[in-house]
Assembly symmetry: C2
Homo-oligomer: 195 residues x 2
DNA sequence: ATTTGTCTTCCTACTAGTAGGTAGACAGAA
DNA sequence: TTCTGTCTACCTACTAGTAGGAAGACAAAT
């Protein structure tokens, strides 16, 4: 009946939800051990050090994101829809608490005391996400669906910051709806002539 | 030669810079002890538990913020200038690394595993800051210096999220200039006819 | 077919060091 | 004298990480 999910995947799953809740220093091997019913030492077999574990986790996260964003570009017709779908994805994650915060946004806050191998991967995720947003915005501007006041990459950075800040506010206020309340208007102002 | 700064203030100063670097679980009594040359037990005399220490820290932080924002309202003539000054303040803090991140933004990310006495104070800070921004935006709109697409409190939440998200991006990219690059355009779009 | 060796995964048992926190003594100031 | 701040010395629980071995899977050699 087990969905044939490997132990190392289970470890990463648990570690991810723990990181999302409390960051790099907010979980221990013992926590993972308890959650999946395996000894601490066995986790060290799969991931010798905590830094390696989290680095692998961020790699997987970025890979999943990459896949998700690619799927989004292929499914949604217009750049405007792609933007909406991206925001809706996070809205759903936050609402049903499956992934109530971006792993890399969480870790980014802790940058100053993150192992370099983790910090560099977090930076890579930020670069990648900003790149995706830039290309969507640029395409939208070319098709005259989106109106940009600044260069596409600047607008992408602004949008990304809004998304992360909105996650933070949703958490601080304990109100999942706050995310959409902040991000949707930011999207709306980019869309040309919404009538 | 000591500037007559009390031990408990020193403790809070060090704890604050450590929290800003690594969050609630990113520092220990031993770290503070090492930094100010006092035994761990002596810190427990001033702040019996870690939760109490951080709660006191956030109280002080909010109080300082309150004072700073009030001063800002009294010094700066127009609401537009107040907004600019607020952003400039953070820009300076991030640039010279005196306070490269908002204490409460840091803690907000860790909300799910924060002691309730800390979480509630972080929430209070968010409320207070949002309130200040709302009143500045409302005043600006009344004087027709600021153009609001949405209700003042919604625009305030959007601005606050931008500020926090911009701090996160500046950290992730290791580029202090990123903060201003993201926030300044957000302010600019609110200002009416900038010529 | 059985043995041999290797690889993987997990285990028990352990280490050194750190976590937050406590008890009690002492010195100086009020 | 009592109160405040600091100290030494200690506690229990937990931290990441290690040592060494048991059990099974697989493949090649016998």
């Amino acid at each position: 009946m087990n969905a044939m999910i490997s132990t190392s995947e289970k470890i990463l799953d648990v570690a991810q939800s723990l990181i999302v809740a409390g960051g790099y220093n907010g979980f221990s091997y013992a926590d993972i051990s308890d959650a999946i019913g395996i000894r601490k030492a066995s986790i060290h077999h799969h991931f010798p050090t905590k830094a390696e574990l989290v680095a692998a986790l961020v790699d997987r996260y970025r890979q999943q994101t990459e896949l998700g964003l690619k799927a989004l570009r292929e499914q949604s017709a217009s750049p405007a829809d792609q933007l909406q779908a991206y925001v809706n994805f996070w809205q759903a994650c936050i609402q049903d608490a499956t992934l109530p915060f971006c792993v890399c946004a969480m870790l980014a806050g802790e940058t100053p005391m993150l192992p370099e191998e983790v910090a560099s991967r977090v930076r890579a995720h930020f670069h990648h996400l900003a790149g995706w947003l830039t290309s969507v915005l640029r395409a939208g501007a070319e098709q005259q669906l989106i109106r940009l006041d600044k260069r596409p990459d600047d607008e992408a950075q602004m949008l990304m910051a809004s998304v992360h800040g909105a996650m933070l506010s949703a958490r601080a206020f304990g109100d999942p709806g706050m995310f959409a309340a902040i991000v949707k208007p930011q999207i709306a102002r980019l869309l040309v002539a919404n009538r």
